[in-house]
Amino acid sequence: MNKPIRTMSLFCMALFLALMVNATYLQYVKAGDLDKDSRNRRVIQAAFSRERGAILVEREPVAASVPSDDVYKYQRTYAEPFKYAPVTGFFSYYSQTGIEQSENEVLSGDDSRLFVTRLLDMLSNAEPKGGSVDLTLNRAAQDAAYDGLQALGSDVEGAVVAIEPNTGKILAMVSNPTFDPNLLADHDLTKVGKAYDRLNKDKSEPLLNRGIQTTLPPGSTFKLVTAAAAIESGQYTPSSLVPGGSAFDLPDSSDTVGNWQGGSCGADQITLTQALEVSCNVSFLTLANQLGADRMRKQAEAFGFNQEYLDDLPLQAISRYPSDMDRPQTAMSGIGQASVTASPLQMAMVVAGIANSGIVMKPYLVNEVRAPDLSSLGITKTTELSRAISPRTADELTQMMVSVVNNGTGGNAAIPGIDVAGKTGTAQSTPSRPPYAWFVSFAPADNPQVAVAVLVAQSHTERDEIAGGALCAPIAKAVMEAVINR
């Protein structure tokens, strides 16, 4: 009987080998796929059971994990959800956005800088914790920006971005309509799914951070770039005479372009300063046409167009100054139309560059990353993004912008006792929708502490009352005051 017994032993060995191969397949080969299955509760349980690090603004948390007594050990909560949601993003079972996504490794405790902490936790059998992220935001500025936009109506579409010119620190970043990340961090996944679907389908796009994720025609605020290119070319000074008048004949075309709401810029020849004060389209169409596509594009790129420079938030939209524009388009680009598009962050960087003697600093949001024991894992170093214009040009542009606020379209941004430099903008997109209102500014002009860009893309304002100076300048003023008076 030994022969069949040997056969049976081979058969049994085959059975056990099959078990081992299958176990390896399940636990090693297929494990990654199973872990990714959206119904696998273990994975989300692990993330929710860990004390995720806080996101701090001026040392106070705007996002924190607090102990929870339901199925998961911790609940992510957002202290001022609507105000900070565009920056913090949300942390849900399905996905993360904003700082929650870009700094996920630190917050969850998986960052390589936290390796020693993790090792010690493992050895001492302690619950692993995440590190915290301290943001550059200024609470007063954020409040002023948020309240300013809200004052136009809770469904106003707009964004405010403020930067510290000499560092690149983002002091305020507000976007409206906004959302409540607490709804998406809930432990009731059915509720989360419904809330997400609703937010995602909402036509007003509340999940969008308009400060960095939308680019729109910058309109007259782009005249700052045109003016910078003109002065940098050496052919112009603030007192150079440029064409005024009421219409500009587009080259290679039979079209003419007038000034905003018709009218003339005063005289046939005005100074460059006057042209900026009244935001004279004819003057800047002429300048862009004379300077040419190359000069204009190089100047725009020196301020950050056509580049990605924000590392701290995902999904940054690139502001464009296209390279294939013909002469009529190049002329139109001089007043921020044609295919030129910019995000509020980009326009804030243009004025921040002018404020910082021509040096554009790389913008950033994460000031410091800390381990769970609050020891610092690194403070972000400021870096120069580019030298967009010479200090002298910057100085001259500053004087011109101060004049815009004191004598021109930017009067609503004036702060008593302080020189404010600013520029309004009202951009057309299609005739069917209202224009975009812009305002960019910095203050104090002699020692700039804050540069702001305000965009209102849609509001309840009557069409012919929409203007950057009226809608946006008061918000910019409030943000600047908040930073300066601190």
Binding site: M1, N2, K3, P4, I5, R6, T7, M8, S9, C12, M13, L15, F16, A18, L19, M20, N22, A23, T24, L26, Q27, Y28, K30, A31, G32, D33, L34, D35, D37, R39, N40, R41, R42, V43, Q45, N125
Partner: protein, 467 residues
């Protein structure tokens, strides 16, 4: 069978010291596992570690001493492997108790330890009372009859009870018992006794078709009867696992007894017919197969059959990965019945692929040692019993572990020595006692039957034996 085979003249060493050393290692697994559960789940070594460890050590040592006294030549690897598996099982059941918040006296681990004690007592009883396994051959038909009665017991109205759709339990007072586990042992004895007598008739006659000798129609009686019994278990008790196990067991023993692969062809064909018919006709079998093929389609289904248990186990094992999450860091309690049928899922999650492999290798060792015993056993009955016990073990492990890891459709069987469940644990300890008894007989030196007036030739062979 083969007293004349010169290989059989080799004298085995007793190796009881090796067994004791391996038992100490097994105790490290058992007691260390219990301590690791306490540290991992509650952050401290369990307060009753000394009492628990002492009890486990006393049981193991008692088993060792009984083997030393009554079966000194028995295989030295079987008992330590079983002790390690039983200890690991207790630790994992204890971990699941803690997750459920069960108190000590009512906890599954406490009950399992009681059952283990009973198992070791029966183990010792078997070894002490049964000095020669061939005595069991006398009870061939008695065993068969008792096995059938035991299998029928759950069908009786008063004691039988449906649990989770399967009618395989009997209840007497507060005690519940799965008679199928005991029937398994009795069936092996009955098959062996029957086959060793009738193997010639079943082996010799037949006709040759395509290189395979097929048996005569009139010899098909026994296998047909067994096939019907297996189908009966499936139809009336809804117990897919036992049905599969009993039929496979009979087939293997028939093949080994007759040395004719033709029986495997016949049996395989009958199995295929039965399986196909069951899949087509029996709703619960159809559900099992469909869940096996598309487990994720049935996950968290609120109505009809659902695959929560299987999918949670697969998620858990994947989450455990190579090294596991560690005791207390996984969520094996998400798998319903993790302490019985799905204990491999709990092991895979918290101890990882490493431990799953180790457990499978341990089972492989038990089977290997059983078959080795069958090879060297000197009598046909012993060979058949050892083969049957080893193969039933292999089949059971394959069916349950394969089911949990989605290699084959899920069937309800316990994981030997690991799963919570008294009848299974006790029956498996008796199986090990029987294997040890047979291996003691097989490894024992051949009694010197030579008398002084034997001829020279025989005496010379005796002289050649190493002493």
């Amino acid at each position: 069978m083969s007293h004349q085979n010169p290989l059989m003249e080799f004298v085995h060493r007793r190796r009881r010291g090796a067994e004791l050393f391996l038992l100490v290692l097994a105790l490290v697994v058992g007691i260390g596992g219990y301590a690791a559960v306490g540290v991992g789940v509650e952050g401290k070594v369990p307060p009753d570690i000394v009492a628990y460890g002492g009890w486990l050590a006393a049981l193991i040592l008692a088993a060792h001493i009984v083997v030393r006294l009554t079966a000194p030549y028995a295989d030295p690897v079987l008992l330590p492997v079983v002790a390690a598996l039983n200890g690991l099982g207790l630790a994992v059941i204890h971990r699941l108790d803690l997750a459920k918040g069960l108190d000590q006296p009512a906890s599954f681990a406490r009950q399992q330890l009681t059952w283990m004690t009973l198992g070791v007592i029966l183990f010792a009883g078997t070894l002490v009372l049964l000095r020669d396994h061939r005595l069991l051959q006398r009870f061939t038909y008695t065993s068969g009859l008792v096995a059938i009665l035991l299998l029928l017991l759950p069908m009786l109205p008063l004691v039988g009870k449906d649990i989770n759709g399967a009618r395989i339990w009997i209840h007497i007072g507060s005690m519940s018992f799965q008679p199928g586990e005991v029937a398994k042992v009795l069936l092996v004895i009955a098959f062996a006794g029957y086959l060793v007598l009738h193997r010639d008739a079943l082996a010799l006659a037949g006709r040759r078709v395509l290189f395979v000798d097929l048996p005569r129609g009139r010899d098909l009686g026994p296998i047909l009867a067994m096939w019907l019994v297996s189908l009966g278990i499936l139809v009336f008790q809804h117990d897919l696992g036992s049905s599969l196990l009993f039929f496979g067991l009979f087939l293997v023993m028939l093949y080994v007894a007759t040395e004719r692969p033709g029986w495997l062809v016949v049996g395989g064909g009958m199995f295929a017919v039965g399986a196909l018919a069951a899949y087509k006709l029996l709703g619960h079998v159809t559900d099992r197969v469909d869940i096996w093929l598309h487990p994720f389609d049935y996950y968290q289904q609120t109505s009809g059959p659902h695959s929560d248990q299987l999918v949670e186990s697969m998620f858990g094992m994947a989450w455990g990965g190579l090294t596991g999450r560690g005791f207390g860091n996984g969520s094996p309690y998400r798998i319903s019945y993790a302490e019985s049928d799905f204990i491999m899922g709990a092991i895979g999650e918290e101890l990882g692929l490493t431990a799953v492999m180790a457990v499978i290798v341990c089972y492989g060792l038990i089977v290997e040692r059983g078959l080795r015993t069958a090879l060297i056993c000197r009598d046909g009955f012993g060979k058949l019993v050892a083969t049957g016990l080893a193969c039933s073990f292999a089949l059971q492990v394959f069916v349950v572990v394969g089911g949990v890891t989605r290699l084959i459709p899920l069937t309800g069987l316990t994981t030997p020595f690991l799963s919570y469940g008294g009848s299974s644990l006790v029956a498996n300890w008796v199986i090990i006692a029987l294997l040890l008894r047979i291996s003691d007989q097989a490894r024992r030196p051949i009694p010197d039957l030579s008398s002084p007036d034997d001829d020279m030739e025989h005496t010379q062979v005796v002289k050649l034996m190493p002493s």
